[in-house]
């Protein structure tokens, strides 16, 4: 995920989202706020502050799936408390700015309760899906799984723990409907007539850096460009709806759902 890290590195340093925290607070090993009243307040906080990305039942969306027994970045209560408080560096997950210690625990209690919900049932055969991923989809040309593949698109090693099956199906059928952050497609033309389409790696007020569809990296001063189009809502990835049968689509989605971070 180097691309994402690069693009978000400045945003993560921005001043508005400082983490408030009492430095003398000793984080208990077990959540001290798990009463029904705590869960109710945690749900209210979750709906207000978390559901937009994680889904109202923790089913995931642009944020990770939380309706699972084990959370990759928060295997125990202490780590879940810290994830809510500080966010996860290098990802879109921000810190819980402006919630106090008790509210953080209440939120943690509600998130844990989501993991006790029945897991999503996914049709399809992940083993066949893996073969389709390699042989028919040629997905590895643009995506890395377990250290293998190309880097034009996002890494998928743990995509099954970060995105719901519905989100993954949408990403395969209509990639533009499920765009990940940090992968904006841009088209530009230089004053000397060169045209480049690619993924924006970085951009500031005066310059832009782009990786083209062959992997080549370009950097431009904007005043040297004749045209710069940002294709918000568009993806360089093609739709696989026509290329895969309904059962093959199920198999591919089942394979993607099975990717839980094992390298």
């Amino acid at each position: 995920m180097r691309l994402v890290c690069l693009i978000f590195s400045f945003a993560l340093l921005a001043p508005a989202q400082e983490v408030p925290f009492d430095p003398e607070y000793v984080i208990p090993k077990v959540n001290p706020h798990t009463s029904p009243a705590d869960l109710k307040n945690g749900q209210q906080l979750f709906m207000g502050q978390c559901s937009r990305c994680h889904g109202s039942k923790g089913e995931g969306g642009s944020g990770a799936v939380l309706a699972q027994p084990r959370l990759q970045h928060a295997p125990d209560d202490q780590s879940l408390f810290l994830v809510i408080l500080e966010g996860i560096k290098g990802t879109e997950m921000p810190g819980g700015y402006a919630i106090d210690t008790r509210e953080t625990w209440q939120l943690a209690a509600y998130v844990r309760s989501l993991g006790r919900l029945a897991p999503e049932t996914v049709p399809g055969d992940p083993t066949r899906g893996r073969e389709l991923y390699q042989a028919k989809g040629h997905c590895g040309q643009c995506h890395i799984v377990g250290g293998q593949g190309g880097s034009l698109g996002p890494e998928l090693t743990d995509i099954g723990s970060r995105r719901s099956a519905a989100h993954l199906r949408a990403a395969v059928v209509d990639p533009s409907s499920a765009l990940p952050n940090g992968f904006l497609q841009v088209r530009l033309e230089t004053k000397d007539g060169r045209r480049i389409t690619g993924v924006r790696l970085n951009e500031d007020t005066f310059t832009i850096q782009v990786r083209d569809l062959t992997g080549g990296i370009h950097s431009f001063v904007k005043e040297d460009l004749k045209a710069l189009e940002r294709d918000a809502g568009k993806s360089p990835m093609p739709s696989f709806q026509a290329a895969l049968s309904a059962s093959e689509m199920d198999d591919l989605v089942a394979y993607l759902v099975s990717l839980r971070g094992e390298k």
Partner: protein, 531 residues
């Protein structure tokens, strides 16, 4: 432990640097007449952040190059605005440390290291925005809420006064402001339910001369604007340096949000003197007048922006005015003698007020308050602008403001006060899929109408400097520091510093050459025309 490190032997720089001169009150009062120095936080008592130097112009700005870089040993955010007096730059560092630098080379001359008291707390890191100088002393506020006076030639501590208890959430992040014989200082802690104040200390002894409470005591005027006992935790902190009119002997200072920030249910009323500009007598601290920008604020829109003093002709009548670009996105012109509202209008995207009435009070749009489900409102908590300084150029007669175009979803939450703990009552979430944007805008000071804008690819978090070379210098959160034409806004020069810029630019002269300096990341960059 507080210690000072001597970094050069006496007389080493005597050939090129004059002895550190006395920076008298008379010099501070006439600082516009010596543009080779930058003697107060905003460059002058009128807080215009304008430099009379004109060596760097639109014609040669492309020849600007780094003259030197000074790197601090810190991972905290650096918001300092340096002072320069007679060839020496005085830079505050996070927590309240101070370093004196040779402006020819950027090499340290002395350093005062502040070790912050354990248990000190603040919402937003151990930031520090600068120092004050008066006669033979340098003054700095510290994150653990002390005011410290240092010997200007060595950095050795002359006195150290405790301003407030840091363990309850008090801190000092603002640069002090030196008057004739007093040092005025504001404080931070608006997210901890503290009671705000502005203090003045005797410059020689460190004894407190006066205190103005920004939240009235029971029975005092304004206390009726706080329901129940809510004034006790009313905040209204004072964390950005104000302006001073020596003729009136008036101190002008902005105040912050009422506490708790986002849940106004527990503090019904206008909540005076939160989100105000207050005019205080410099000798006594007595309130002369106040103007409240955002009564009963529930979005954390502190009015801790820099008040700019200038003359303005409004509707045909000349006024000694205060120009104010507020975090709530409205630009205001106030009469400096009375605090009367003269005119105002928004300078950035906002969805919370239909406008201002004849008295300058916002006409609030219903349903723009935070809710438990979340209410989408522009601007976000950081506002249309913030603490970073605006600038007024008397030469161009334009008011420049670094602007943000960002909204958010405001949430109302619990508001239970515990001493020393965060007391927010809610929060905000970003609007999904919306990138923060901003611009440098030039406003016509008499009306607030926009003359030009230079759009940024990101939001703004750095101040603006205008110069007699008809230039505007500004920076952004992606690390670009740049020069614009002051009359048209056209870009003339830019330099990528490699880190977000959260500071204000200054200009001065060193060895006969104009320099422009800005903090970026953990470093101070000084630029000058190449030889």
């Amino acid at each position: 432990m507080r210690r000072t490190l001597g970094l050069f032997s006496a007389g080493l720089f005597a050939a090129v640097l004059p002895l550190a001169a006395q920076v008298s009150f008379d010099r501070l009062s006439k600082s516009e007449s010596e543009p080779a120095n930058w003697l107060t936080y905003s460059g002058s008592y009128s807080a215009q952040r304008y430099s009379g130097l004109n060596q760097i112009t639109a014609a040669n700005a492309r020849q600007l190059r780094p003259a030197w870089v000074y790197q601090m040993r810190t991972t905290e955010r650096v918001e300092t605005s340096p002072l320069v007096a007679d060839g020496v730059m005085y830079v505050s560092e996070p927590g309240g440390s101070v370093t004196a630098l040779d402006t020819l080379t950027g090499r340290p001359l002395w350093k005062y290291v502040r070790t912050v008291t354990k248990g000190s707390r603040g919402c937003c890191g151990q930031v520090n925005r600068g120092v004050a100088i008066l006669n033979d002393m340098v003054y700095v506020g510290t994150f653990d809420a002390h005011l410290v006076a240092l010997d200007i030639k060595s950095g050795i501590v002359r006195w150290d006064a405790e301003v407030a208890d840091p363990k309850l959430g008090h801190s000092i992040t603002a640069a002090p402001l030196a008057l004739r014989d007093k040092i005025v200082v504001g404080m931070a802690g608006g997210e901890y339910g503290v009671r705000g104040f502005i203090d003045a200390y005797d410059a020689k002894s460190g004894r407190r001369a006066w205190r103005f409470w920004t939240v009235p005591a029971p029975g005092e005027p304004g206390s009726e604007t706080w329901a129940g006992g809510s004034a006790k935790t009313g905040a209204a902190t004072t964390w950005v340096t104000g302006a001073y009119d020596p003729e009136q002997n008036s101190v002008f200072w902005g105040t912050g949000n009422p506490g708790p920030d986002w849940n106004g249910d527990v503090r019904q009323g206008a909540n005076l003197y939160s989100d105000c500009l207050v005019a205080l007598d410099g000798d006594t601290g007595k309130l002369k007048w106040y103007f409240q920008f955002t009564p009963h604020d529930v979005h954390d829109w502190d009015s801790t922006e820099v008040p700019v003093l200038a003359d303005a002709v409004v509707r045909g009548e000349k006024h000694k005015a205060v120009l104010f670009g507020n975090r709530n996105t409205f630009y205001y012109v106030l009469d400096r003698d009375s605090g009367k509202f003269l005119t105002g209008r928004p300078f950035a995207k906002q969805t919370w007020a239909k406008g201002l009435d004849d008295a300058g009070k916002p006409i609030v749009i219903p349903d723009s308050e935070p809710t438990t489900e979340g209410a989408k409102v522009y601007p976000d908590v950081t506002g249309g602008t913030n603490w970073f300084s605006p600038s007024y150029s008397p030469q161009a007669n334009l008011f420049y403001v670094a602007t943000r175009e960002v909204g958010s979803v405001f949430l109302k939450g619990n508001a239970e006060y515990k001493p020393g703990a965060q007391f927010n009552g809610g929060g905000q979430s970003p609007i999904v899929g919306e990138d923060p944007m901003g611009a440098i805008r030039a406003l016509i000071p008499q009306t607030g109408e926009m003359k030009w804008e230079f759009k940024l690819h990101t939001d703004a978090a750095a101040g603006v400097l205008s110069t007699a070379g008809n230039l505007v210098f500004a920076g952004d959160t992606q690390g670009d520091f740049f020069a614009l034409d002051a009359l048209t806004g056209l870009p003339l020069w830019h330099f990528q510093t490699g880190a977000p810029i959260n500071a204000n630019p200054v200009s001065y002269s060193s060895g006969g050459k104009q320099q422009v300096a800005i903090a970026s990341g953990n470093s101070i960059f000084a630029f000058a025309l190449e030889n």
